[in-house]
């Protein structure tokens, strides 16, 4: 390995410089591991080390790769530093995106049939933001364009892959409780019993209701 750094240190450095999630295969290649399981084990070790109260980062498995991200608990401070509002999509955009995510590949006309309204404006916006992409053309009259979600979609919602979309049946149960149990999914869920940082109470719910001005 490189000088005084062990594998985990190298991994940390790699994840730090990456602009987007790095696939396991890529990390394996860079580390020169024979077996991807070895690379993955190191990633988990590093993730565990980051679990301490004195660490502000975590490793997230998202969009087919791994990335370093700040922990949810640090969010209030980051907001103070940057003074930016968290990114949110409009309801129309979310509905359209949901239909595309579950039904892809799908044409615009098919999306409109489900929503019962024209969606060209919303879909243009989603395309511009890179959340959806064109997948090809349907083999029918007029050869309409088929749309699907992009890797940016996975990142925006924190999915590893499309298999993580909650099944449409599960959704009822998910919506039931107002606050989800885990604020964010880190790849190592081992340390459940670690002391919880004094989180600003109800931060998430507040976020949802106060995306605009303050009272």
């Amino acid at each position: 390995m490189t000088g005084q750094l062990d594998r985990r240190g190298v991994l940390e450095a790699l994840l730090f410089v990456a602009e987007e999630p790095i696939p396991l295969g890529k990390l394996q290649e860079v580390l020169g591991d024979e077996d991807p399981a070895v690379t993955e084990a190191s990633i988990r070790e590093l993730a565990q080390r980051l679990e301490g109260e004195d660490r502000g980062l975590m490793i997230q498995e998202v969009a087919g790769g791994f990335r370093l991200t700040t922990r949810a608990e640090a969010h209030p401070w980051i907001q103070r530093l940057q003074q930016v509002k968290p990114a949110r999509l409009s309801r129309a955009a979310l509905e359209t995106l949901a239909i595309i995510a579950y039904k892809q590949p799908i044409t615009r006309a098919e999306v409109e049939a489900i929503r019962g309204v024209a969606v060209d404006g919303v879909m243009r916006t989603l395309l511009e933001r890179g959340l959806i992409r064109m997948l090809g053309r349907k083999t029918e009259a007029g050869r309409p364009i088929l749309y699907g979600t992009s890797p940016a979609f996975l990142e925006h919602f924190g999915f590893k892959d499309l298999g993580e979309l909650p099944s449409l049946r599960e959704i009822d149960e998910l919506i039931g409780p107002p606050s989800p149990e885990s604020p964010a999914r880190s790849i190592s869920s081992a340390g459940e019993d670690q002391p919880v940082a004094k989180t600003p109470s109800q931060d998430e719910t507040r976020e949802r209701t106060e995306s605009g001005g303050s009272p």
Binding site: T70, A87, L97, V117, A184
Partner: protein, 253 residues
């Protein structure tokens, strides 16, 4: 009153129908079509009176509802004795569409929760894409419209005397609302109409409010479904970071 308010965040006729179904606690599989059609048309009339840019889909749905209603009134077709023919429910297709739409509406809510969670994480490198913060209507336009509908109805019950035919316009009313919000914010939606008994006046106030929302000068929010709707004055984003909401103090070790 030729003041066109355009809002491109209209959720559509299916959404309106689901609202009505929920509001009247109707079984989606057994919709009283005459009643729902009447309710639907009432909203449509209200939108038109407000000169909202009612999209063609809303009119199309009205036609569909009326068509279903008329088919329900027809006597069942003559069937030969003893022969059982499964009569197709004229509502079936609409119900299927509603159920399908509802499924994705709920999926969108789930996505919204996940988005909220994910927004707390700040990855390296990725300049958090500058999405528009969700529009000014933290509640949907339909919900606002429904609340407005109640106010109008109440005003009609009060049957006011029309005495002061003063000149009213939306522009002036916008200024009045802004003044009011600068003194008191948030203010409950219904209180904006307190003291107004004339239909025209109430409508002008509502149009002015819609315009404020559209221009992001105010925000309408509702803490819980069916709860009171609060109108907030919309501050500049950089202005007044709210001290009361931050839990732990950074650097208070």
């Amino acid at each position: 009153m030729s003041y066109q308010v355009k809002l491109d965040m209209f959720e559509g006729p299916l959404d309106l129908l689901l609202h009505l179904i929920r509001e009247h606690q109707i079984d989606i599989l057994d919709i009283p079509i005459a009643k729902i059609t009447e309710e639907y048309l009432r909203y449509l009339a209200l939108m038109q009176e407000l000169d909202l840019d009612v999209a063609g889909e809303f009119l199309l749905m009205a036609a569909t509802l009326i068509h279903i209603k008329s088919r329900m009134l027809l006597p069942p077709e003559e069937v030969a004795e003893g022969e059982e023919v499964e009569e197709e429910d004229p509502r079936a297709e609409l119900v299927d569409r509603l159920l399908e739409y509802k499924k994705f509406k709920e999926a969108a809510q789930t996505l919204s929760l996940l988005e909220t969670e994910q927004a707390l994480l700040h990855p390296r490198g990725a300049p958090s894409i500058a999405f528009e913060v969700e529009g000014p209507l933290a509640i949907s336009l339909l919900e606002l419209l429904r609340a407005f509908h109640d106010i109008l109805r109440r005003a009609e019950v009060l049957a006011p005397l029309e005495i002061t035919p003063e000149e009213l316009n939306v522009g002036q009313r916008i200024v009045v609302l802004l003044d009011r919000l600068s003194v008191e914010s948030p203010i409950e939606f219904t209180r904006l109409f307190a003291g107004s008994t004339r239909r025209a006046e109430i409508i002008i106030t509502f149009l002015a409010l819609l315009e404020l929302l559209r221009r992001h000068l105010a925000t309408a929010r509702q803490a819980e479904p069916m709860g009171p709707i609060m109108i907030y004055r919309h501050l500049e984003p950089a202005e007044a970071p709210d001290e009361t909401q931050a839990g732990p103090q950074p650097g208070s070790q």
